[in-house]
């Protein structure tokens, strides 16, 4: 099962290196990692998605807690969190393919952000599952380039 960890860290130089280094050192694989400022300018929030079957999440969080700059860690429950990821994809789009790409884009509420004679570039926000589904549908048309931000997430309510 995938686990989404929301890690509140001090906004200081080198903190991301410490977090990423810990994962490398303990041989934990990261599926995605996103980092940015939080509501407090002194703190940043890192969202990390890991495969919980592969690594004991308990051990990962305990090791993370040992980092002096890590203030708080939450293992977000998928059923009780909002999450999103931004994806930009360039897909081949000439003739019929272009029509099909446009239809798919509309279904997924993707925005066309660039276009030329041969290709379309779509930008879409959604859950990891939604983005995977979009890419699967675009694959037969010819996916030329993909870039993703990694998931960011937040617990629901006040929890």
């Amino acid at each position: 099962m995938k686990h989404t960890l929301s890690i509140l860290v001090e906004n200081k130089p080198g903190v991301l290196t410490r977090v990423a280094g810990l994962f490398a050192r303990r041989a934990f694989n990261i599926e995605s990692l996103a980092v940015g400022l939080s509501e407090d300018p002194k703190l940043s929030r890192i969202t990390i998605v890991i495969d919980g079957d592969e690594h004991p999440v308990d051990q990962v969080t305990k090791q993370l807690h040992k980092l002096i700059n890590v203030v708080k860690i939450r293992d977000l429950d998928a059923g009780n969190a909002v999450s999103a990821e931004l994806l930009i994809v360039r897909v081949a789009g000439e003739g019929d393919k272009r029509t099909e790409a446009l239809q798919i884009a509309e279904i997924f509420k993707a925005k066309i952000v660039d276009v030329d004679r041969r290709a379309l570039t779509l930008r879409v926000v959604g859950t990891n599952d939604k983005l995977e589904a979009l890419l699967e549908l675009l694959q037969p048309l010819g996916v030329l380039e993909v870039v993703r931000t990694g998931t960011i997430a937040m617990g629901r309510g006040r929890g």
């Binding site: 280094g21 051990q59 305990k62």
Partner: protein
């Protein structure tokens, strides 16, 4: 000094060190370290010990910290000076030793340019520190030092690196010590959970065959008195790890000695048979457990540790207690005192352990080739110093014999690189230990291999009048590797024979130390007495049996009851 007076960053750092109660630091200067060394030149309450190689500075600070319980401090210049500290920092990290390493760095504006003597020290040490700093503002420098001391010495102790660009030392700042530290992410758990402690007390009270398994955490927590009370209260037999030697007096009837790869038969079998294993400040290391699945197969496990990440890492305990050993052990004693218990209950188990002790003592044969038994040399050191010396070691066979044949009676008495297994640790660590504990006889038990890795520190010992006694168990081999080659590699002694070695007696004399060589059994004691009485640094070269092995031995990855050489006294031929 008036609090708001402006001073150079380097001077503020010295003031901060003095405020932390630091009275000695070990180091070696260099280009970008000059401003700091200039400030040290005027320091009245801070002694600097000039080592001969930076690795020696880190190990000496480490030995000082282990012997005293205080934070050890070392310093070096940038680049190669700093990288020479790395082995020492890693050694301290693996053994949870409070160490602050101040490394000087090239000017801030040169960082990242591959400047002369530039090395990314915070980057290099990232995996081997508890925390590290790259100081970017002179105003932060003293506060960073106070934070570093706090982090190094609290919770699970460990090394902290402070990397300081030279311009930070030259900048002006006002020094004053803030009342609070701003560490929002650092709150070590000290007191254990009350309900867990109660559950543990109940389990201890009910156990038929309990064993206390003590690690280095007992020593770093200064919890030996509380542990002694706990053990005596329920007559718990005690096995210690290498790092835990001295946590419980080996002169005590409840002591079973060390467990693990080179542990006693009694300790390993007791762990195998026990119904309750009380692990305190220990981490179920592979050198202790052998084959993990077969470790303590009949036992319920209580695990007390200040580091939550250690609990459940290798073994999942029935009763985990996160907390500092000292208050947790005291709370356990209190809980147990309220429970009814009869000493008769412990008798069958203790009788069984006593039988084992009598049947399977540590034993060795005298060599027939006229050389000394290394075990005998250590027994003589034990006898001559009356279980009262601080013993430092290098790593290898002599280290294991030192664990087996010296009788450790108090905490902080045995100083050895357990986790990292750093050869060359012994001599510089003994210098630090002796400086920290001038009242104690300090003996470095070393091998001819390990001693040659840091022997230049003899000059430091002579220079600063640090009378440590180095006992080289000289077998002409890298003995532990040779032993593995002997037992598991068909005696193919690939590069483990030290064919050429210096004359250690002359070498010691060349450094200005006392040098001796001992080849006869009856010369061991007089030589030790003479070296100790000399009041000078001394080296004794003991010619020991070349192919003697350390027994008992559990081959790596085997069950700890599968011991080579742990034979019964009855079944012995000699």
């Amino acid at each position: 000094m008036t609090p708001d007076k402006k001073m150079k960053g380097s001077r503020a750092l010295v003031a901060a060190l003095e405020d932390e109660g630091c009275d000695v630091l070990f180091g070696f200067p260099g280009g970008v370290a000059i401003p700091f060394y200039d400030a040290l030149y005027d320091a009245e309450n801070l002694r600097h010990v000039l080592v001969r190689h930076e690795q020696g500075a880190a190990h000496a600070a480490d030995g000082y910290a282990r012997a005293t319980g205080k934070v050890g401090v070392c310093t070096s210049t940038s680049g190669p000076g700093a990288t020479n500290l790395v082995t020492g920092i890693a050694t301290a990290y693996l053994d949870s030793v409070p160490l602050v390493a101040i490394t000087w760095q090239v000017r801030s504006d040169l960082i990242g340019t591959d400047a002369f003597q530039e090395a990314d020290m915070t980057g290099i040490t990232l995996p081997i520190v508890k925390h590290s700093y790259l100081v970017k503002d002179t105003a932060d420098l003293s506060q960073v030092l106070h934070e570093a001391f706090h982090i190094a010495s609290t919770g699970r102790p460990g090394p902290v690196v402070i990397d300081v660009p030279v311009d930070i030392a030259l900048g002006e700042t006002a020094y004053h010590k803030a009342d609070t530290l701003d560490l929002p992410g650092y709150k070590p758990t000290v007191k254990g959970h009350v309900r867990q402690i109660r559950a543990a007390a109940k389990a201890i009270n009910e156990a038929q065959r309990p064993v206390l398994y003590l690690g280095g955490g007992v020593i770093s927590s200064n919890a030996a008195p509380e542990i002694l009370r706990l053990a005596e209260l329920r007559r718990l037999p005690v096995a210690t790890t290498l790092m835990g030697l001295g946590a419980f007096p080996e002169t005590h009837e409840l002591s079973m000695g060390m467990l693990g790869m080179h542990g006693t038969v009694t300790a390993n079998y007791a762990v195998h048979e026990c119904d309750l294993l009380i692990a305190i400040g220990a981490r179920f290391d592979d050198r202790v457990t052998g084959k993990l699945k077969a470790f303590a197969p009949h036992a319920r496990i209580i695990h007390v540790d200040v580091d939550p990440a250690e609990i459940g890492k290798n073994v999942v305990p029935l009763i985990p207690i996160v907390g500092d050993v000292k208050p947790v052990a005291a709370a356990l004693v209190k809980e147990l005192q309220a429970l009814e218990w009869s000493a008769e209950r412990s008798e069958p188990w203790l009788a069984r352990i006593a039988e084992r002790k009598a049947e399977f003592p540590l034993q060795y044969d005298d060599p027939t080739d006229g050389t000394l038994a290394p075990q005998f040399v250590i027994q003589e050191i034990d006898r001559v110093t009356g279980h009262d010396a601080i013993i430092c070691t290098d790593v290898g066979q002599h280290q294991m014999w030192a664990t087996q044949y010296y009788t450790y009676a108090f905490a902080r008495q045995f100083i050895s690189s357990g986790g990292l297994g750093t050869m060359g640790f012994g001599l510089p660590a003994s210098i630090g230990a002796k400086i920290g504990r001038p009242d104690k006889t300090v003996i470095d038990i070393s091998g001819d291999g390990g001693f040659q890795m840091t022997m230049q520190e003899l000059a430091t010992a002579v220079n600063f009048d640090v009378p440590v006694v180095v006992c080289i168990l000289n077998n002409g081999y890298l003995g532990m590797v040779r032993q593995w080659q002997d037992l598991f590699w068909n005696k193919r002694y690939s590069f483990t024979c030290i064919e050429v070695q210096p004359d250690f007696k002359l070498l010691a004399e060349a450094f200005g130390a006392v040098g001796m060589r001992v080849t006869d059994k009856d010369q061991v004691e007089p030589a030790l007495r003479e070296a100790i009485a000399s009041g000078r640094p001394a080296v004794i070269d003991f010619k020991t049996s070349p192919e003697e092995n350390v027994y008992p031995m559990v081959p790596a990855g085997q069950e700890i009851t599968e011991m080579i050489g742990g034979q019964s006294r009855k079944g012995r031929k000699s």
